[in-house]
Structures are given as structure tokens and as C-alpha cells.
């Protein structure tokens, strides 16, 4: 496994050391956070054994057509199913999995042809049935069915010819999905779609094959019950009775994975060392971290890092049980562009300038938690370097400790001669859980330096997401706990949801309510670009644009810190940024 290391800029780290040690004087050390994606040394992996994964929450669904969250991918999509394209742990581009090769795109970009492997079999009770291209076609159709509730098909598959008619129940199948033979799938698009051509959007669980003759009786239910009766193609399967009913799943409690007898290792790149994987939900994050670090055969599941106090001691005594990786996501403060005074770009820049991102990072645990963000796209996402790398471009994002003088000058430019805001109080909604609540409080204090006054409320994440910050009608001026992660390594999955005004609505991550026609058009053009170089350049340019307009104030490019017990050899998937269960083994 390649080892990555990122050396933080020394300016950043100097300031950090000062804050962290509280000495306030001089000092010139630089902090280096060593990243590592695997733990457990170079001993050859052993086959067999059982691993227990401890999680705080549960997968969101059993249905492959619904899976959209990292933990769904980690716990289910990765180990139990095969998509058209999969993610090797160290890759940022997909590899053919069910597919025999990468997609072939026609010259006009509107026809994509995929060949699939002929000899992949399903788990019992369909162990004699091989996967056919029609099963993938049905899987893609399912992502448009109301009974499946897929969330991303409108963004990535909308260009498939006939999908709108199918969604509107005006057609019984999608005309743009064709299967000339059992191993060929042809996708007709109304316009070129970069993320289909490059395979990224086909490396989602929406391409997990679903045999229509078997599944349709379950899909008649609304919602579909196929998840509880699904057949598996991956090295593992959820324990079941062999007759099509899952027995190894209890909501919020346990997912019991066992080997899939139909899986043929010769057709797959995944080693699948372990015999059993048990995923336990509903754990307290403190206790789970303790058990993982001091117990045997445990691995962390759905949480981003151990709590600050446990992390601190683990970093010094159990560093070899931690894998610190960039999460390919970011955290930002949103400034609502439809609420005065944040409709004024200079007020937003002033706010960006005054924010002391170092302090904000300390509320989550300091430098180990990732580099301080200077623009939107995070490391490991294409376009990161072109958009400014670690150092960034804009003056108001330069000083990680905040720049009050600069902020004041922007305020004066915006028409506040004193450099301080003088209007009515603004609404602000922060998270009510630590550490996010601490961060929110710090943001509030920092913005108040510019004279902002707030009506401040603390609400649960779900409330914030669906009824306050995430609701355009709520008109919340400042939301300090915004953030977004990738769907895959393409920058579209980061920039489009947050800034494309066409997607505005309740639940959208565009909490700044940005809806600029020109920007929307730029985003649409970039999304259609199939040339990788141009695509990267376009998105980097969009990142510069949104950063210069300070729609949001990015302050952290998170690291995720995964942990295992000392007898576990662990490998982190770059795609899920968490342990790749198909590659884990016991020492």
C-alpha cells in the first residue's frame, strides 16, 4: 500500500502550536500529520477469522438501489455486492468489477457501451443464475422507481433517454437502456455525461445487478421489500435462510456478514480474507473507541474519528492502530445570500476574513483532524491543486487565525463606515451536539467581532438539515455547521449539489441559497465535459469563483481517523475513506 503524507504549511502549523500550547510567545516548530491508509505492518495477510465493526448508527437501507451513504458502501455495497465498476482501496478511479472493461463512449458522447463478465453468479436461492446485462438495466430502472427512493438518479442518470417518461410512469421501461445480448449494456444519453463516461457514476450501488424476474414481486410493494430478500454477488452476504429471506439484520443493532458460496475469487480483485464480519450499531462513540483500541478483532465503522480525549492518548500510544486519511470532504460556514446583509459580497468576504479557522479546528481536535481549508475542493479530489492547493488564492482566506483589519476594510467597502455591522439581529442555527456545537459557538463569537448580533438556536442535525438551514423558506442567515462530502472523486459531486441553484429545495446542501444563472450554466457545462483535463480545469475555475464570492467559508478539509484493534491488519478504502472490509484480515 502506498503511504501518503501531507506536510502542512508551516505558517498554519506555527499558529496552531501557539494556540494549542497557549504560550502566546514565539516558537518555530512545524507540525506534521502523517497520513497512512493501512495499519498492521507488512506481515502477509491471513485467511479466516471474524471481525467486529462498531458503529454509532446503522445503514440507511438494505436496498442496493437506495444506498447512498458512506456506511452503506462500507458495510454492504463493498463486501456484499458487485457494481459495474468498483473501487480498489488505493484508487481514485473506478475499476471494472461486474463490467469486463471500462465504458466505451461514442464520439458524440451520447452512447456508452459496457461489456459485463459472463460468469458471475448470485447467492442462494439463485445460485444457478448468472448475472446478465438485463439485470443491470433493471437495477438502473429501479433507481427511478418511486418504491426505491433513490436520491442520486436525478443528478447522474437524468440524461438517460426515456428516464423521464419511465419516472412519470409513461413507459414500462427506459428506452435508453438497451441489452443487445446478455453481456452487453448500451446506455443512450440525451447529452454527454462525464461521470457516466468516466465510470464514476456507474461505480455506485445503483448498478448492482437485480434480477427482475425474482425482484419484481418485492418491488410491487411500496416501499420495495427487495432489500430484505436480495441476492448477493459480492464475496460476502448478509446471513440468510438460503430461501431468499435475510436473517442476519436487525435495525440499528447488527448486520451479520458471512461468505457468499456463489462468489468466485477468480473473477474478483477483492481478497476477502475474513470468514465473518459482524457490524454492530447503536454504540456510544466513547465506548466503541475504547473497545476497538484495547480489545481484539474490532474495527471502527461509521464515525469519523475517536473522541478528542481518546484520540489524544491513542496518537501517542497506539498510533499503529490508527489510519488517518483525508475524508475528501469539507466543513464550511454558510452565509445566506438571500438574507441581508449577506447578499453583499463584501460583507461575506469580511465574514470570511474574520473567521479564525485555527480555533475552529481546535474545537474538533487540532491538526490531526485535517488541513485548514483555503478554498472549496478538498485534497484528493481532482481540481484541488488547480484551485489553489493548500495555500489558496484569496487574501481574505489567507490568515488561518483571521484578519480583523482586513475584515473591517471589507465592511467599510460594503457601506459600514465603522467597519462594524449595524443592522438588525441575524438568525443563526447551530448543531446541538459536541463538537459541532462548540464550533458553532466559536463562529458566533468570531462574527460578533464585526458587530453582528444573532438570534442563535441550537438544533439537532436532522432538524437543521430538513427544516431550518436546509429549508430556503426558513431564511437562516448563518449556519456554522455546513459540510459536504464527495459522491465519488469527480469534483462535480462536491460543487454541483452545494452551488447549483437548479437543485435548490428543502434538503439541499445549498444552505447559502446560491442561485446564480451564470454559475448554474458553468456547472452544467462542466458536468457535461468528458475530457478529463478540461473537466478538472473547469471545476477548479468554479471553485475559485465560489471561493472569491465567499458564498461559504470553508475552514477544514477533514481527515477521517479510523481505528482497529492491535490484532487487525487494516486497509482504508480511498473511496469510502473507512476500512475496506474486503481487504481486512486478522494477524
Amino acid at each position: 500500500m502506498p503511504k501518503l503524507s501531507v506536510v502542512a504549511a508551516s505558517v498554519v502549523s506555527l499558529a496552531l502550536v501557539l494556540v494549542a500550547s497557549g504560550c502566546g510567545g514565539g516558537g518555530a516548530t512545524s507540525t506534521t500529520v502523517t497520513l497512512n491508509r493501512s495499519v498492521g505492518g507488512n506481515v502477509p495477510a491471513k485467511r479466516g477469522g471474524e471481525l467486529t465493526v462498531l458503529s454509532v448508527e446503522d445503514v440507511t437501507s438494505l436496498d442496493p438501489g437506495y444506498w447512498y451513504y458512506t456506511y452503506d458502501y462500507q458495510a454492504l455495497a463493498g463486501p456484499t455486492q458487485r457494481q459495474l465498476y468498483g473501487w480498489k482501496p488505493s484508487d481514485t478511479t473506478p475499476s471494472p468489477d461486474l463490467a469486463a472493461s471500462m465504458p466505451q463512449t461514442s464520439a458524440d458522447g451520447k452512447t456508452v457501451t459496457i461489456k459485463i463478465k459472463p460468469n458471475i453468479r448470485y447467492s442462494p436461492p439463485l445460485q444457478t443464475r448468472t448475472v446478465k446485462s438485463a439485470d443491470v438495466r433493471y437495477a438502473l430502472e429501479r433507481t427511478f422507481m418511486t418504491s426505491v427512493h433513490n436520491a442520486y438518479s436525478p443528478f447522474y442518470y437524468n440524461a438517460i433517454v426515456g428516464s423521464a417518461a419511465f419516472r412519470a410512469h409513461k413507459a414500462t421501461s427506459i428506452s435508453g437502456l438497451q441489452t443487445p445480448d446478455d453481456t452487453t449494456l448500451v446506455i443512450k444519453l440525451s447529452h454527454p455525461v462525464g461521470v457516466i463516461s468516466n465510470g464514476q457514476a456507474l461505480a455506485l450501488p445503483g448498478t448492482v445487478p437485480v434480477p427482475q424476474d425474482y425482484a419484481s414481486k418485492y418491488d410491487k410493494h411500496d416501499p420495495s421489500t427487495y432489500g430484505m430478500h436480495q441476492v448477493f454477488t459480492g464475496p460476502y452476504m448478509i446471513a440468510n435462510d438460503g430461501k431468499g429471506t435475510i436473517t442476519g439484520y436487525k435495525t440499528n443493532r447488527i448486520i451479520s456478514l458471512v461468505r457468499n458460496p456463489s462468489w468466485d475469487p477468480k473473477t474478483d480483485y477483492r481478497p476477502a480474507y475474513l470468514d465473518r464480519i459482524t457490524l454492530l450499531g447503536g454504540n456510544d462513540i466513547d465506548l466503541a473507541s475504547k473497545r476497538i483500541l484495547s480489545g481484539k478483532s474490532f474495527a471502527s465503522g461509521d464515525f469519523a474519528a475517536p473522541p478528542v480525549n481518546i484520540l489524544r492518548s491513542a496518537l501517542s500510544t497506539r498510533r499503529d492502530q490508527l489510519a488517518i486519511v483525508p475524508s475528501q470532504g469539507n466543513r464550511f460556514i454558510t452565509l445566506n445570500t438571500t438574507v441581508k446583509p449577506f447578499d453583499n459580497v463584501d460583507v461575506r468576504r469580511a465574514a470570511a476574513a474574520v473567521i479564525d479557522r485555527n480555533t475552529l479546528r481546535l474545537t474538533r481536535g487540532g491538526p490531526t483532524l485535517g488541513p485548514i481549508a483555503t478554498h472549496f475542493l478538498p485534497p484528493e479530489i481532482s481540481g484541488f491543486a488547480q484551485a489553489g492547493g493548500l495555500k489558496g488564492t484569496f487574501a481574505f482566506m489567507k490568515n488561518p487565525d483571521g484578519d480583523l483589519a482586513l475584515a473591517r476594510s471589507y465592511m467599510r467597502k460594503a457601506g459600514y463606515p465603522s467597519g462594524r455591522y449595524s443592522g438588525p439581529p441575524l438568525r443563526m442555527v447551530g448543531d446541538n451536539q459536541r463538537p459541532a456545537s462548540t464550533t458553532a459557538q466559536a463562529v458566533r463569537n468570531q462574527l460578533e467581532k464585526l458587530g453582528f448580533k444573532f438570534e442563535y438556536r441550537q438544533l439537532s442535525r436532522t432538524t437543521t438539515f430538513s427544516t431550518t438551514c436546509g429549508d430556503p423558506k426558513a431564511k437562516i442567515a448563518v449556519c456554522p455547521n455546513g459540510g459536504w462530502g464527495k459522491d465519488f472523486f469527480d469534483p462535480q459531486s462536491l460543487l454541483d449539489p452545494v452551488f447549483n441553484g437548479d437543485g435548490l429545495g428543502v434538503g439541499s446542501p445549498d444552505w447559502s441559497q446560491v442561485d446564480d444563472p451564470e454559475l448554474n450554466a458553468d456547472l452544467d457545462i462542466a458536468a457535461a465535459e468528458t475530457d478529463p483535463v478540461k473537466r478538472t480545469r473547469d471545476y477548479a475555475e468554479i471553485d475559485r469563483t465560489v471561493t472569491s464570492r465567499a458564498y461559504v467559508i470553508p475552514w477544514l478539509w477533514d481527515n477521517q481517523i479510523n481505528s482497529v484493534s492491535d490484532n487487525v491488519r487494516g486497509v482504508v478504502s480511498k473511496f469510502t475513506v473507512s476500512w475496506d472490509l474486503s481487504y481486512m484480515s486478522l494477524k
Binding site: H149, N252, K290, R291, G295, S466, G470, S508
Partner: protein
């Protein structure tokens, strides 16, 4: 008596109706989140959200939704399906009941045993060294937050990372039918932690009522009869002082059966309490309703049982 019980049961139905109506109204007036948006997942398109809203019936007026809910509940004993993952609320609840019942009943045994033993010994010698230590300890136990107590217990005794590897730690619960020994050992710490506060309260309660009872005339009569001290205290005294303890135990058991949220959380026991917390986090109304109704049902039934028990405990009480 039968008539009384029947009337009380009818009132229970009315009460549960009111409880579920209130839950519904609160949910609609002060929603914790929009279930359709939560259900739609990450970055949903407005069409998807709208579609889900229709599908979950959230687009209809809440009165219609409530009537629909009640209709299904009354006609089919159907508690509906989770907004979050479509699981049947009824089966979710029944699946989790054994864990909560195991936890509650075991804790009841622990807290009654400890509370009564400590209360009796303290009451027999008020002001003694034992009494002072026990009552001081009780005060500590009452003030200690359960969650904290649970963490301390785990840090001390959990077999995975505890200082002393004694009992199975968090998340080790298995159903009784699955492995009785492990069921028992995994519940020892949760029982003790959940019971500690109650045991302390009961010890203080029993001590107070027993001291008062022991000053009663009928205790003097018992002594005058030439009964042994142990019999005087344990039969005549305790029998006279136990009524408030039994009353409290019944009601507390009802509450705990409705879900011992903190204990279930810290020990990761898949019970009703955790289900309720998850339901609230997910703005999952059917599941919230289900868990609230179960909790209310337990509390109401516990009160009824206590009142009926009262008639047996105190022959002077008669219901008509």
C-alpha cells in the same frame, strides 16, 4: 373489583388515545425535522421529496393522517411503518421488548432486594454506623447520573477494556433464548447501574416508613405477644411499611419498561428506549407513536396493577 378493573381498562384506552393524539399534534406543530426530506437522503431533488411526501401521506392534513393511523391501529392492530426504513413498527417493538423486559425485571429484582435489605437494616438501628454509611451512599447513588455510572462501571469491570476484566461490556447483550449464561452475565452491570438509583430511593423510602411503622401500636402489640425481634420487624413491620415501596416499584417498573433510555444507550442494549431515541432523531413519527404508546401503556397498566395490588396489600382498601 372486576367492574373497577374493567372501568380502569376503558379509561386506559381513552388515555392512550389522548396520548397518541398529543404526540401527533406535537409532531405537527413542532416537528423535529421533515421526515420526507430525511427519508429522501443526501441532496434530494425536490421531486423526490415531493414523491416521498405523497407516499408517506404527509401531504394530507394531520387530522386525516391521524384518523388513518387510528383506523389501522384499531382495526388491524397495525402501528404503521417506519418513515425511516419502512420496518413494521409493531415488529420492531416486539423485537425489542424482550431486551427491555429483561433489563427492567432484572433491575427490579436488584433494586428491591438491595433497597429493602438496606432500608430494613438502617431502620432497625437508625443513627448506627451502617445506617449513616448506607444513607450517605444512597444520596450519592441518587445524585449520580446513570450514564456516568454506566461508563464508570464499564471502565472498571468491562471484560474488553475495563481495569478488571469481570463482566461482558457494552453491546454484549444476547437474547435469553439464544444463550442464557451470556444473557445473564451481559446484563449484570446494566441491572446494577439501572437499579442503583432506585435501590437508593427505595432504601430511603423504606427506612423512613419502617421507622414510622415500628413506632406504631400494633408493633408494640407484636412485641407484647412475645414475638422474636426478627419476626416483629420482618413480618409485622415490613408488612406495614412495604405498601409505598410496592406502589413505587409498580410505577417505576412501568416507566422502565417503557424504555430505560440511558442504560440501554450506554450498554448498547437493543431495547425500547433506544428505539425511541432513534425514532426521535429520525423524525420517524410512526415509530415515535409506537414507542410512546408502548411506554404509556406500560405506565398506565403498572398503575392499574399497583391499585389492584393495593387492595391485596391493604385489606381496608376496597374498590367499587
Amino acid at each position: 373489583m372486576t367492574g373497577y378493573v374493567v372501568r380502569r381498562l376503558l379509561w386506559t384506552v381513552v388515555l392512550l388515545f389522548v396520548v397518541s393524539l398529543i404526540t401527533f399534534v406535537i409532531f405537527y406543530l413542532l416537528p423535529s425535522a421533515d421526515p420526507a426530506v430525511l427519508r429522501a437522503g443526501r441532496n434530494p431533488s425536490p421531486e423526490v421529496v415531493a414523491q416521498i411526501r405523497v407516499q408517506l401521506g404527509l401531504d394530507r392534513p394531520w387530522t386525516v393522517q391521524f384518523a388513518h393511523y387510528l383506523g389501522r391501529l384499531v382495526l388491524h392492530f397495525d402501528l404503521g411503518y417506519s418513515y425511516h426504513n419502512d420496518a413494521s413498527v409493531k415488529s420492531e417493538i416486539f423485537e425489542r421488548l424482550p431486551a427491555t423486559i429483561s433489563l427492567a425485571l432484572g433491575a427490579l429484582v436488584v433494586w428491591l432486594t438491595a433497597g429493602i435489605a438496606i432500608g430494613v437494616i438502617s431502620a432497625m438501628r437508625p443513627g448506627s454506623v451502617f445506617d449513616r454509611i448506607a444513607m450517605g451512599g444512597a444520596l450519592v447513588a441518587i445524585s449520580a447520573p446513570v450514564y456516568w455510572l454506566g461508563l464508570v462501571a464499564l471502565y472498571l469491570f468491562a471484560d474488553d477494556f475495563g481495569v478488571l476484566h469481570v463482566f461482558p461490556g457494552a453491546g454484549s447483550y444476547v437474547p435469553l433464548t439464544h444463550d442464557p449464561v451470556r444473557w445473564f452475565t451481559s446484563l449484570i452491570m446494566p441491572w446494577c447501574v439501572l437499579a442503583s438509583t432506585y435501590a437508593a430511593i427505595y432504601a430511603r423510602l423504606l427506612r423512613a416508613t419502617l421507622i414510622e411503622t415500628l413506632s406504631q401500636d400494633f408493633i408494640r402489640t407484636a412485641r407484647a405477644k412475645g414475638l422474636r425481634q426478627r419476626r416483629v420487624v420482618l413480618r409485622h413491620g415490613l408488612r406495614g411499611a412495604i405498601t409505598p415501596v410496592v406502589t413505587a416499584a409498580g410505577v417505576d417498573l412501568g416507566v422502565v419498561l417503557g424504555g430505560a433510555i440511558l442504560t440501554e444507550s450506554v450498554f448498547n442494549i437493543p431495547g425500547i428506549g433506544r428505539l425511541a431515541v432513534d425514532a426521535i432523531n429520525d423524525a420517524d413519527l410512526p415509530l415515535i407513536q409506537g414507542t410512546v404508546l408502548v411506554g404509556a401503556l406500560f405506565i398506565v397498566l403498572a398503575n392499574l396493577v399497583v391499585d389492584v395490588l393495593y387492595a391485596f396489600l391493604d385489606p381496608r382498601v376496597r374498590y367499587s
